[in-house]
């Protein structure tokens, strides 16, 4: 087994200590947990500042702004063009700085302008694309040819008299019917503009059954996800103990 350096073991010990501080919350709330919680808030915020500066602010704003300012010292290009580029690079920064007006009660209304810009762009961009991907493409996928479904179901009827030899195409066809009718009934359940009576009521009832099966599947997967995260931490603690053991030659 590879022997880990003392420096790495010390860092791993810090990580293990903080891991156990968080786990201590399972027994009850305590100063170790609160300390780790506050520490991570500060570390995360500092991390965000550093990452945003190095990866985003410099090459998207500071550099282009500096370049457009330095362009005035170059004989190439027209003055109008240089002024235009400078304005195009200054403007987003100025609009962004307006956000800081939120800290002062009298001027906090100014921060609505950059929020409006961001919301406008996001909403405008989202509108056609979410309609296309979430609605149109999904509805299109639901439009299955009933003749195809029927032919799939009837392609192999050995399922009724010789299950072991069947290709199970019948269930595939039935599944396609479940998708088509299930999604329509699910939508009927979420339609609250009319009372759930008669056909709509019946469809809504089937819809909620389908939804419950779907949510059950999601719950099952969620359990797997959460357990996986715990396994990850246990693996780390085992690695830490192994590293110490390896260093001490145990």
């Amino acid at each position: 087994m590879e022997v880990v350096s003392l420096g790495s073991i010390l860092w791993m010990t810090v990580a293990a200590f903080l891991t156990l501080c968080i786990f201590s919350f399972l027994y009850k709330d305590n100063p170790f947990y609160i300390f780790a919680e506050h520490l991570i808030v500060g570390i995360s915020a500092g991390y965000w500042i550093a990452i945003l500066y190095h990866t985003s602010l410099t090459d998207l704003w500071i550099e282009p702004l500096a370049n457009s300012a330095l362009a005035f010292g170059s004989p190439e290009g027209s003055m109008a063009g240089k002024i235009g580029m400078l304005l195009v690079n200054v403007a987003p920064g100025l609009i962004g700085i307006l956000m800081f007006s939120r800290f002062f009660k009298k001027t906090s209304w100014i921060s609505r302008w950059p929020i409006a810009f961001y919301l406008g762009v996001s909403a405008g961009v989202a509108l056609p694309l979410f309609m296309q991907s979430f609605v149109i493409r999904q509805v299109a996928a639901n439009m299955m040819n009933p003749a195809d479904i029927l032919s799939t179901m009837t392609a192999d009827l050995t399922i009724f008299y010789n299950y072991g030899q069947s290709t199970l195409l019948f269930w595939q066809g039935l599944g396609q019917i479940i998708i088509v009718l299930g999604s329509i009934c699910g939508l009927a359940y979420f339609y609250f503009s009319a009372q759930h009576r008669g056909i709509l009521g019946g469809a809504a009832k089937i819809g909620i059954w389908i939804l419950m099966i779907g949510f059950g599947a999601t719950f099952g997967y969620t359990v797997m996800a959460r357990i996986s995260l715990l396994i990850g931490r246990f693996n780390f603690l085992i690695d830490w103990i192994s590293a110490i053991g390896g260093y001490l030659g145990v």
Binding site: S56, F134, G214, L229, N235
Partner: protein, 277 residues
Amino acid sequence: MNAGFWQKLAALDRRWIYLVIGIVTFVPILAYIRVPVNITYEVEAVYRKIDSLPAGTVVMVPMEFGPSTMAEMQPMATAVLRHCFSRDLKVISTAMQIEGVILNEQVLRETAAEYGRNYGTDYVFLGYKPYPDLVILNMGENFRKPFPRDYYGNELDSLPMMAGVNHYSNVACIINLNATSGVDYWINYANGRYGAELALGVTAVIATDYYAFLQSKQIFGLIGGLKGAAEYERLIGRPKDIANRSMTSVSVAHVFIILFIVIGNMAVFAGRRGGRG
């Protein structure tokens, strides 16, 4: 067992439950027991796609996971990247979840080093930009628009691999490894607007949500959670990697969770019935 027993059981201190779940999850990790992992068609579809690409093809493997989901996503990312590098594919990656930028960079760098791959010629890491929806849209026009430089500060045009690689139509496919709700942006924007061939690797929490997109062929494959990672490890011939080693623990924990549900329900219903009697 009388009603009193069931009522006491129903009121059991939750810390005993924590202890049991801790033990049943921890103990199986100590001893590796190889368990069967059946391969599902949605994971195999991703494998077959990457396997079908000729050497030198450019693929995009954007990673958007952080420490909070790395136990599920890191094995998945490692397996997919190992497959890409073993097939001599060129990989472009981004990291648009801010908490995971450094983690994603490490996964990419270390996996590339395993296969002796060189930065700039075999793989490129574009790094992070905020607001993934807008970045994904902008990348559809030109990668250089949101990313004039890569994560290390190199201009994209100075990297040999990026010659002629300008937008999604220049990459064979996108395998998005995502633990955030930003998956929807890849489906809506990269696939919806630019028609990029897209597969997803997501946490198990959100995996069930994307079967609808699999059926509508908006995505061609789906790797879900640690089980999906274990399947991919089997497919690339690495059955002793971390996801596979964890499957025993997952299985035992599942059984105990089901037992908790059953016992919890029995305790409440038997306790009530006994109380009425």
